[in-house]
């Protein structure tokens, strides 16, 4: 089954027997793996074999079977709010920004579950420093409606929104889908920076070559199952 | 696919049927519409003759009038998802048109029917050319306003009889006495319903029907398979409106009079309910729904006084549980039977193939 969790680092994310079905269709049969704190694990495999469903279910957006633990804390099923509060944040495939809201508001809302502020401006000020440090190119886009941004800019905003939530475990579902080469490189540069911090990252990527540029190891999914638990880079 | 392409593919042994789960073969001689038209006329005629001019017969005839309208709405609302709330207004065109032409200009009942059809066609063409330009939500909003101001117009106009409407609308066919007049006119009404159902079925089961479905699913999809959206929208609007006018004429002639109630929102509401509850994609559903609901609204006093609550709850239940209405539920139940039958047939034939030593007829795994 799995190699035991290394005693030198607590498991940031433990996924045990997670399964996802849409009606009669079984998208994810049973997935088990764990990720140590600070690790970057890539989830690779052909499209349509359950990678997105698995990651979406782990983040609490879809009903699932099985158990998910974040730093030892078990997450309830179907509650993305609980996941975010435990430090698990998903950057979904196709971003799902709020097109009529400004970039500033999109990012600010990332911190929704942590902020106690009533005023939107103050909530923004709480997160703006850290986020703009990481993504300085967003500074001039703050007042633009998110729906008018380019694909690459939107991806930056989606990443910034996720970071505003103060995650300890970051799930990224195909972050470079549909992006131009230059932008994808920017995203991967950022990812590389993140891996050198103590952020735990799970990266769903169709292209294994890209993924293994930043990942410490990979998990391959095929037909809703984890194929080989360890593929070292 | 072009004609040549289709022929070539057919020669090569490929499946030349248009894509889509529903089988909409472009047949020249599809027997269903004609069969439905004849069936409805004969069945309805027999029923009305049996009722022999009683009050029930009158109720059924008014139900038939509504059914002609709802059949058009199946095309507009159920099939093409064109949210236009203008049917009651066109019923008014049909009803008031008939009344005015007959009482003020001495038209006969057949003449006024034809005139009203032409009138509705022209009005809906003009209106439709403008109105179908607007995106879905705008169309819905604008046509929500339509009954409001047409109703005001009718009630303030003394030429249109103000609140009391116009009396003296002729029945379609007269007979020696009241009862037989009712029966004969009723039969004409049922004939019109049969024609309407046949026409709509013909459209739905043609290549145009497939285009309408594609358009309803996703307008961009429709464009990508070469549908001229505006033209289709216009055609659907005109057909639905003309049918509504015919329905209005039937109602007026059955009741002998026309009042502004025909054009107000409650008529539109009743129509929507008939279509939704009975099943907005089903012709049979629309017809039965119209007749049943019309019967219920005029029958027991409990139901007619509380009709609002009952209609509201029925609508909510339908929306939540079975959006395709009663007809959809029936379809599902029947479909399950045919599914079981089909799957046992499949496994039987697979077994035969294997026994003959052929390859397995397996379904692919994964997505």
């Amino acid at each position: 089954m799995l190699p035991p969790v290394s005693p030198s680092g607590p498991a940031a994310l433990e996924v045990e027997g997670v399964s996802v079905s849409y009606g009669k269709f079984v998208a994810v049969e049973s997935v088990t793996f764990s990720v140590r704190a600070g690790e970057c694990v890539a989830v690779i495999g052909p499209n349509g074999h359950g990678k997105s469903s698995m990651v979406t279910a782990v983040a609490g957006l879809v009903r699932r079977g099985g158990v998910v633990r974040v730093f030892g804390r078990t997450l309830p099923v179907g509650s993305p709010g609980a996941a975010v509060r435990a430090g698990l944040v998903l950057v979904p495939e196709r971003r799902h920004l709020y097109p009529e809201l400004t970039t500033r508001d999109n990012i600010m809302l990332g911190g929704y579950s942590r902020t106690k502020r009533i005023s939107a401006r103050q909530a923004w000020e709480d997160v703006s420093g850290g986020v703009l440090d990481m993504f300085p190119e967003l500074a001039r886009l703050l007042d633009q409606k998110a729906g008018t941004l380019s694909g690459g800019q939107q991806q930056m905003v989606a990443l910034a929104r996720a970071m505003a939530a103060g995650p300890r475990v970051l799930l990224l579902d195909e972050p470079c889908l549909g992006l131009a080469e230059a932008v994808a490189r920017r995203v991967y540069d950022w990812l590389a920076e993140m891996t050198s911090t103590d952020m735990t990252i799970v990266l769903v990527e169709e292209n294994p070559v890209h993924a293994l540029l930043v990942a410490d190891r990979a998990v391959r999914m095929y037909k809703g199952l984890v194929e080989r638990p360890e593929v070292t880079a | 696919m072009t004609e040549q392409g289709t022929a070539a593919a057919a020669a090569a042994g490929q499946d030349t049927r248009p894509p889509g789960a529903a089988v909409h073969r472009v047949r020249r001689r599809d027997p269903v519409p004609l069969a439905a038209a004849i069936g409805i006329t004969v069945l309805g005629g027999l029923i009305l003759a049996g009722m022999n001019g009683s009050y029930l017969g009158l109720t059924v005839t008014t139900g038939v009038g509504y059914a002609i309208v709802t059949v058009g709405m199946v095309l507009q609302l159920g099939y093409s998802r064109q949210l236009a709330f203008s049917q009651s207004v066109f019923m008014g065109v049909g009803g008031y048109g008939t009344a005015v032409l007959e009482t003020k200009y001495g038209f006969s009942s057949i003449e006024s029917l034809l005139a009203v059809i032409a009138l509705a066609a022209v009005i809906s063409l003009l209106m439709g050319a403008v109105v179908t330009r607007a995106p879905g939500l705008a169309l819905a909003l604008a046509t929500l306003l339509l009954p409001l101001f047409i109703y005001q117009l009718a009630t303030y106009s003394s030429w249109l009889g103000s609140f009391s409407g116009i009396n003296g609308v002729l029945p379609f066919l007269t007979g020696p006495d009241y009862e037989s007049t009712l029966v004969r006119s009723g039969i004409v009404s049922v004939l019109l319903l049969g024609l309407a159902a046949g026409l709509v079925l013909r459209v739905m089961r043609s290549g145009i029907g497939l285009q309408l479905m594609a358009m309803a699913e996703d307008e961009r999809l429709g464009e990508s398979i070469g549908v001229s959206l505006r033209q289709r929208r216009l055609e659907v609007f005109v057909l639905g409106s003309v049918l509504a006018a015919v329905g209005g004429a039937v109602l007026a002639s059955a009741q002998g009079l026309v009042t502004p109630d025909l054009i107000n929102e409650s008529t539109q509401i009743t129509l929507l309910l008939m279509v939704f509850v009975a099943g907005r994609k089903s012709i049979a559903g629309a017809i039965l729904g119209a007749i049943v609901i019309e019967y219920l609204t005029t029958s027991t006093s409990f139901i007619s006084t509380n009709i609002g609550i009952i209609e509201g709850i029925a609508l909510l239940l339908i929306l939540l549980v079975e959006p395709d209405g009663v007809a959809g539920a029936v379809d599902r139940l029947l479909g399950r039977r045919t599914d079981q039958w089909a799957s046992s047939l499949r496994s039987w034939s697979a077994g035969r193939l294997r026994a003959r030593g052929g390859g397995s007829v397996g379904s692919g795994s994964g997505v």
Partner: protein
């Protein structure tokens, strides 16, 4: 001149109702992508319910208002829990453009039927909150209730606008309508926002019904017409902006009054609806609905 001012006052009063209904519709649509076609019926229950509680039930006026508003809030909450929850949170039921109208349409039918069963077909008016004769300055008359309506409409519009514009909660509410998944990812509970704002706008509509009903009586059928104009007012605000909806409602009310005063009393509504119809069809961009290609 005084006739103009009187018409203006009357127009602003009815316009205030249209406007606030438009604002209630716009705010809730922004959050839920559903049009509350029952908003007029909530107002009707406010007016008739309070009148009935006070006149027939014998409750003191203040209690009557509170009891009525609480009842309206409860009905709204129940509707969300029993119908909208299943439709939207559990993914059952009809979707797409149909859901925009027909759920609340069904509710409106039920409310009207219930009102008819409970209150009959009479005309009701809740007692005036600010009783007294019409205020007069020279030849200019305005009903006291009218002043209340206009003031309340402006204040409510401002409150709704500030909520959406300045607060985190308001931003989160808007996000719910923009992207369901996007909202859930950051931990926003869209169902809760939808429910709360539905209840708030229902109670607000009921309050307006109470305030305005001394001017025009309400029957069980009064709801739909005002709902419809409210929808149009909300339409002019792109179904998103409460401030603009209030302004649009006021404009429609004034137009209606002016048409009645200067053009024709009988046909003023006909003209008004015809004009609105024309705008929606010929200039859907005004509603934020682009004209379609092809």
């Amino acid at each position: 001149m005084s006739e103009f001012l009187n018409l203006l006052a009357a127009g602003l009063t009815s316009g205030g109702i249209y406007g606030i209904f438009g604002a209630c519709l716009a705010v809730w649509f922004r959050v839920s992508n559903v049009l509350n076609l029952a908003v007029g019926d909530f107002a009707m229950f406010g007016a008739i319910g309070t009148a009935w509680l006070v006149q027939t039930g014998g409750l003191p006026f203040g209690f009557g208002i509170v009891a009525d508003l609480a009842g309206v809030g409860l009905v709204a909450w129940l509707f969300d829990r029993l119908v909208l929850h299943f439709a939207f949170d559990r993914g059952k039921g009809a979707h797409g453009i149909v859901s925009v109208f027909f759920y609340t349409f069904g509710l409106s039918l039920v409310l009207e039927g219930a009102a008819r069963a409970m209150f009959g077909t009479d005309v009701f008016a809740a007692p005036a909150i600010w009783p007294g004769a019409a205020l007069a300055i020279a030849d200019f008359h305005v009903q006291r209730a009218g002043v209340l309506v206009i003031a309340l409409a402006i204040v409510s519009g401002l409150v709704l606008w500030s909520y959406l514009r300045f607060t985190v909660s308001g931003r989160a509410a808007s996000a719910c309508g923009e992207s369901v998944l996007g909202a859930r990812i950051v931990g926003i509970d869209s169902a809760k926002f939808r429910r709360r704002i539905f209840v708030v706008t229902a109670v607000l509509a009921a309050l307006f019904g109470i305030v305005e009903s001394p001017i025009t009586g309400y029957t069980y059928m009064s709801g739909p017409t005002i709902s419809l104009i409210g929808v149009v007012a909300a339409g002019f605000a792109s179904f998103r902006r409460p401030g603009r909806a209030v302004a649009a409602g006021l404009a429609i009310g004034v137009a209606e009054a002016m048409l009645g005063g200067y053009v024709s009393t009988g046909y003023n509504d006909v003209l008004l609806y015809a004009i609105l119809f024309g705008i929606i069809i010929f200039r859907p961009e005004v509603l934020g609905l682009g004209a379609e290609p092809a």
